[in-house]
Amino acid sequence: MGERSFAEDVKQLGYGEGEILRGEGILAITKALLQSGVSYVGGYPGAPVSYLIDVLADANEPLLKPLGIYFEQSGSEAAAAALLGASINYPIRGAVTWKSVVGTNVASDALSHVASAGVIGGSVIVIGEDYGEGASILQERTHSTALKSSVPLLDPRNSLDAFARFVGEGFGLSEACNQPVFFSIRIRACHMRGTLRCRDNVKPAISMLSRLDSPSFSIDRINLPPFTYQMEAQKFEKRLPAARRYIVEHGLNEHFRGAEDHLGIVMQGGLWNTTLRGLHALGLADTRGRTPVPLLVLNAIHPLVPEELIGFLRGKTRVLVVEEGMPNYIERELKALAHEARLPVEIQGKDVFSPHGEYIPQLVVGGLRRFFTSAGVTSQSTTAIEDRYQALTAHREKVGLVLLEPVAKRPPSFCTGCPERPVFSALKILRTREPAIGDTHVAADIGCSTFSTQAPFNVGNSVLGYGMGLASSSAVAPLFGKRTISVMGDGGFWHNGLTNGVANAMYNKQDSVLVILDNFYAAATGQHHVPSTGTNARNEPLPMTIPDALKGLGVKWIRTVNSYRIADVMGTFREALTTRVPGLKVIIAKNECMLERQRRERPRLRRLAAEGHQVVQPRFGVDPDVCTGDHSCMRLNGCPSLTLRENPDPLREDPIAHVDETCVGCGVCGEVAHAAVLCPSFYEVKVIANPTRWTRLVSRLRQAVIRRLAAVTA
């Protein structure tokens, strides 16, 4: 049901040996899972791996079921990590996926337990590293989780073939060392389009078609002392050494030799493409990756293999480490190893690049230039490197001369017709027109609704985790002179908000207001199903509802409002904020995600119109002569289709409001103008295509009368 249908792509997942698959990184990973003989797959959607869930959902009927593979969209990342529990006792392969680092944080309790007990069936966790440009979350990397839980971490080179190979190696590695394995993939790599040479899919030995029949019990797999002490010892005495052996024996890391053997670069596999492009830009590599500079590409960045690293460092005078994020574990480990082995090599990394931020080309090229102009190479003169660098950057000095002021920012926001946006219009109108009631602390949440904190609303004083809005106001509410408001999307509600938010607030008798934005899907990730969607990701019907869940927890004050009716939403907020009823008051602001609705409705209406049926479509507009161009509506509305146009009035200079052709007629323009008493400029026009004879007749009669009246005053 997701934002994108992979139905066409899914056909390629059935390809056999030697066939060429064409598609995104995510598709290659899915294909590799099938080639590895997994018995179960699951995960929680989140960019950049949300499409993985879509692909799996689309593949469920045609491919997974016939192979007997169990698929679920888990309730949260914690549930997804716990899914790996199947591989603790049974020799079955499984894979789960989530967005990291936040998903890893949610998953970490279950994950630590799986990593402690160990697995006997290969377990791979595909983590979408949401780091750098295009990321939507706080900036941390997953490396430290891998270190503290002794989970091997693969960070392969970016090509579809490499992804497929390393998914397969991940299962092998996991089984060799009895640990689950992280397979990390970056944002752009997930969406990278390329080709993959396929192998046959493997039918798992244990599956829904060939089930287990007896439980396996072994007390030393229970996470309780004294076994936890044994497990800890095993991690460092058996499992990690076994992982290192596997890494060496299967050549997971790649050593490229070169003529400049006094130098070397050690890099994470995921940074291979950018580093090679950087070398290319400075004239130190060709487009096919041939370079005189020796390279050590770490496709497995945990555990590191000391012998491999020392072997690379030996005989070199200067080595550069290309490692994203902090702490710089690889660089530090290299330095420690060089010190212990008393190697006279100078190791650099963060000092020539940057301690923070994604390693994008401008940063990498700058760092490489710094390194090579000081280290010196024999195959290129320093001036040649300098000249190439200048050729890339000289023009940048002129930017300020033509763009005298910075180009306007374009933050992401609510879509045209979004049913969540009017709730924040209502809150902003309440805040400005009735500050005594409405100007209060608002705890925001994760999801599309986080955009409320951006222009034009700037509603939301804190954001601190998915489904955590209400919990984050637990101490603010009793210490605040007015009732506070917390926001939660339906996705966040089911993920974490039901227990840590609502149950916690009820348990602690919090007197505050919670608004749940119920748009039927986890919309931010691409309209993924939530328990109240009505069906699960496998399209099986479900009776779960938000009000039932709330009632089950004892919430008494529950109101459901149509989120497009701004006056009603304001009225409900006013009531919730002022009622004498103590305790938690929950407003469910409800309407379907407009993206999903349009995806369904647009083709339907187009088809009806094409068949000659009468089709009525509402649109909004602004009378250009009535609008005076003060843009108050924009500050309260924020709809992308409500925009500006040059003032057609030659005597006025400020641009006026204009509703462009992307309008879906949700009605919020008019609602805002009314609720905030703005202006009479807005009108709704119902456009009737293929009018019936009756519609035409009524319309003609009306027009005849109206024309007469108009003629009187014309």
């Binding site: 969406h191 080309p361 003060d630 992308p640 005597l651 006025r652 052709e661 009108y683």
Partner: protein, 499 residues
Amino acid sequence: MIDAPLLSLLIPAVGGQGGGVLLEWIVDAAIADGYPVHGTSIPGVAQRTGSTTYYVELCTERGASTDELPPIFSLYPVPGALDVLLAPEFLEVGRSIELGFPSPARTTIIASTHRLYSIHEKIATGRGIYPIERLDAAARAFARKLIAFDALALAREHGTEANAVLLGALAGSGALPIAVEAYRTAIRAKAVQVDANLRGFEAGLAVALAAGAAAGGEGSPAAAAPAGQALSDTDIEAMTAAFPQSLRPVLRQGVLRLIDYQNRAYAERYLERLRPFAGDVELGQIVARHLAVWMSYEDAVRVAEFKTRMSRFERIRKEKGVRDGEIIVTDFLKPDLDEIYGVLPYRLVAWFARWAERRWPHGRPSLGQHVKTTTVSGYLRVWLLTLLRPLRPISYRAHEEHARIDRWLAAVARCRAWDGLLACEVARAAQLVKGYGDVRRRMTGHFDRLLEAATKAGEHAMANGGDFTAARSLAARYRALVLQGPESEATAAALAADA
């Protein structure tokens, strides 16, 4: 080092523009034509109306025939090493330039000149739009070759989206070696809106082929067309004959507007008020413009007239592309108390107005209604209001507005006696008087404060040696701050208080 040439293409788009489809077409076309290629994107959260980027790299050596090593493709563009910038929106060209991607030595820029305004441009009370001339100059300065045109308008003409048109322009530009037919194959293979997309593609292709090497930014938006009443009225010429030639075009606009608003006598009153400033060309222009707008303030009668004109319904049909169908128009009207008693005679309602202002100092009661102006009863309700027009000169609103206009003109005249430039600034203050209801009350409050502060500063300057720089800048800054938006209004008020 011998090197297979590698070409790179960056698409800086706005979420929802179909950049992903554009990328897929290009990648598929390259594959169809046998070039090693790869593409990537960062849709993610930015997909929701934010800035998104899509990136393609293509190796010009076909197949893997000469070499077994495949080309290493980067997932990111290298600033300064970009071959093509394909921009479906014009501000995003500026953003790419800001980030250093296109270089004048190397980059072909193919851009649509239409704008999707960012929220920060929209929420200014005045003009917050990023100056298009600057974007235009930047695109010219940073392109080896520039093909810029309004791809969205062209797309709409052909019933398709801008991305198909831009794909055509890319094909026609010859910036990539992919054969034109391969692009068509890619569109067909995608099997979505094939005919419409092919139409758009051909249109874009034609533009790029015609543009050739000499293409330039032809797409800077044309100035808005003036209100087009055909006029051969010698009467107006006679009325404005006493005014300098340079003022006459704007006077003509003003006179027409006010005859339409009230009657000829009202237009003559306009000219009479203007006469003292006519000698000064710049000041005359400013006063003429603002005075005409102000004297045609939007009272309920004026709004009713706008809403019931037959030309309005024609305009709506045209704007919404309704050729054959029917329309039902609903107006969202919510006059507040001020607007209701504003149309009634001053003598009748002045006492009430004073009481109401005390009773409801912030936000007066309002009367919300949804009126279907395409039905007879709905039309009648609004149309009846237009019959009150003869009462307008004696209305409460007229009394208030004209008193304020007189105060404004007096202040302008007073300042002119001191300093011409200060007078211009004070005249420009009338730009603040706009909006309806609470907004208009807030804006006129600022106008009053500006007037007072500027004249006070003028007086002060007069008494202290005649340097009016501070007074001028006070008036200019106050106006600019208020036009930035409500967030800056407190700063403006503080500025006036300090003066």
